[in-house]
Amino acid sequence: MCLAVPGLIVAKSGDTGTVSFDGVRQDCSLALVPEAEAGDYVIVHVGFALSRLDPDEAERTLALLREAAGETGAGARP
């Protein structure tokens, strides 16, 4: 629920950072994701990063999506 958007941390300073959403920059609080660093993608809600986006998981999800949509080499659907 709630509008939250993935963005790239381009600069981090203490608890805040500059997050870039496809070139649109906004200063956000990173206090809720202390492990996130510049170069990480985070999900941002009302000016706060809530979680780090895991690129490996994202790729895994996309692979499952492609399979479910019938785009695997095998072609056959379950």
Partner: protein, 344 residues
Amino acid sequence: MSVGGRLDLKHGRVDMTHGGGGRAMARLIDGVFRDAFANPRLAAGNDAAAFDWPGGRTVMTTDSYVVSPLAFPGGDIGALAVNGTVNDLATAGAVPVYLSAGFVLEEGLPLAALCGYVHSMARAAEAAGVEIVTGDTKVVERGKADGLYINTAGIGRVPDGVGPSCDRARPGDKLLVSGPLGDHGVAILSARADLALDAGIVSDTAALNGLVAEMVAAAPDVRVLRDLTRGGLAAACNELAQASGVGMTLDQAALPVRREVAAACEVLGLDPVHVANEGRLLAIAAPGDADALLAAMRAHPLGREAALVGEVTDDDRRLVEMRTAFGGRRLVDWLNGEQLPRIC
């Protein structure tokens, strides 16, 4: 005619005497307005401008500009005031000729800023090929005018054979836009300090009369021209659907939107079809004219990214629908109330 004395254009501010009708006001008009809008009619110093008029179909329009902040990436209130009125004339099919300009100044407005906006108007007028031939100045107390309000009225002549009108759209007609949606609205939102958004987007404010001239040369019987302003493409389409008694279908995948504008809209929870433009137009043309019109638009600097975005349908409910990028259907409704960023 000069009244002597000096205005401190660098550090001075508007005060109540500048609206009082006395020497201070004359100095202001001389030093700020007449200087910037230099043309013989204004220099004559009359309250009203006199000119000969060739006759024929004539269009007149007026608009008031109350934008805040007064300056934003890509423009300011002055540029908007000229371009907006020129565009209203142009989308009525007219060649814009003369403008008037009325100013309501707030006590305390820095004269340097005022000069900036006035020079911006002068530049925009020159680029559009129009003259500002008459004007008016009033001053109100601090707190009563958000810095500056401008009203412009304009007059132009419609060439024979040209007659776009909001009630002329017919089922089967094609919808075209002259370029990417939402630039102006996002530029304004970026300039609002409370949103702290750095979008790198500049307002698309521009005079469209040159583009329109090319368009009507290619397709004189273009049915409708409408410049996109507050409420964006959605407002324009819904207004025209109501006026013409038709429905419309837009193709979401065909709508041109800059990457950064799309991203800013995602972050703020806004829909680009509702976001304002100030230098884009919507054209509705008979199917046979669409290709020629698109080519003419793309050949002009202000129409390079023009696109065919939909068609007019036979729908007495007058609804504007959209085919989403996923093959689904949804309405493109009027915006409800003011566009506020969503959190949810």
